[in-house]
């Protein structure tokens, strides 16, 4: 049996925000076996900056997952959220060519002074919708 088929493929992509009020675009390629993306999560090494200052547009294979100006804080989860509940479910979106585009926008906010920070995007994907452990 091909065990990889039963795995949830977890991938991480990073963006570096070096200047205040800058817009950073990242284009990433998902694993070739990641056929359906189920969940997305955003974290940072400076969560307060991501929470107060961040918004992003996210596209997968030209399908818009989150529109421009969608706040990053709506996609974050705190430490006290159970790990299994943290990612945002987006259904089973076909990854197609596997191209994930993220346009992240930093904006001034009085609660969080700028310092360079990292934004990490996690994706959770599966290989096959039909495959379950019972199949074999």
């Amino acid at each position: 049996m091909d065990t990889y088929k039963y795995n949830i493929i977890k991938e991480r992509f990073d963006l570096k925000i070096e200047n205040p009020n800058e817009t950073v675009k990242g284009e990433f390629e998902l694993d070739k076996n990641a056929k359906y993306v189920q969940g997305i999560l955003i974290t940072s090494d400076r969560d307060e900056l991501l929470f107060y200052r961040g918004s992003q547009k996210m596209q997968l294979n030209d399908k818009e997952l989150f529109p421009e100006n969608f706040e990053s804080r709506l996609l974050m989860a705190g430490l006290n959220v159970a790990p299994d509940d943290r990612a945002i479910s987006i259904g089973n979106v076909e990854s197609g060519n596997g191209r994930l585009e993220v346009t992240y926008k930093d904006q001034n906010h009085e609660n969080a002074r700028f310092t360079p920070y990292r934004v990490s995007i996690y994706t959770f994907s599966i290989v096959d919708l039909e495959t379950t452990l019972q199949d074999d």
């Binding site: 969608f70 706040e71 709506l74 705190g78 906010h109």
Partner: protein
């Protein structure tokens, strides 16, 4: 097909009463969910209680009048947290994001659209400090 739409209103001063319009795509048939956020400068971890940010009404002109009204509070309501812990400090202290609760959720509504314009009316309710922030209205539209 569901499309997400974000409208941003800049709130520039205390107590402002602001009318605005949201232009939706022409092929939008129905609003199925709404989420409202605001990001004022806040110090809620100091005063221990969430505080009011503003009141919002959304209206479908002629057809249905006001179909949605909402009282916006500081971000604690986003996390389903009614009262903070007694010893809570700045949730972002030490660079660790320890604010807790549940996922952000949209509120389900059912508003048929026969127009691509929504009218909005917002009253800022922050009187204790300088108000300058963004009010964001997230809509899930059925196309």
């Amino acid at each position: 097909m569901i499309k997400q739409w974000v409208h941003i209103e800049e709130i520039e001063r205390n107590g402002i009463k602001q009318q605005f319009q949201i232009k939706l795509p022409y092929n939008a048939k129905r609003i199925v969910a709404i989420k409202i956020t605001a990001n004022p400068f806040d110090r809620t971890w100091e005063n221990k209680f969430e505080s009011e940010v503003g009141w919002l009404w959304l209206r479908l002109p002629e057809r249905r009048d006001i179909f949605y009204s909402h009282k916006i509070n500081t971000y604690k309501d986003n996390y389903d947290l009614s009262l903070p812990r007694i010893n809570e400090v700045n949730p972002f202290d030490d660079g660790l994001f320890t604010q807790h609760g549940k996922k952000e959720t949209f509120q389900t509504v059912d508003a048929c659209l026969n127009t691509n314009i929504i009218e909005g009316y917002y009253i800022d309710r922050i009187y204790s400090q300088k108000s300058k922030y963004q009010l964001r209205i997230y809509l899930k539209l059925e196309l």
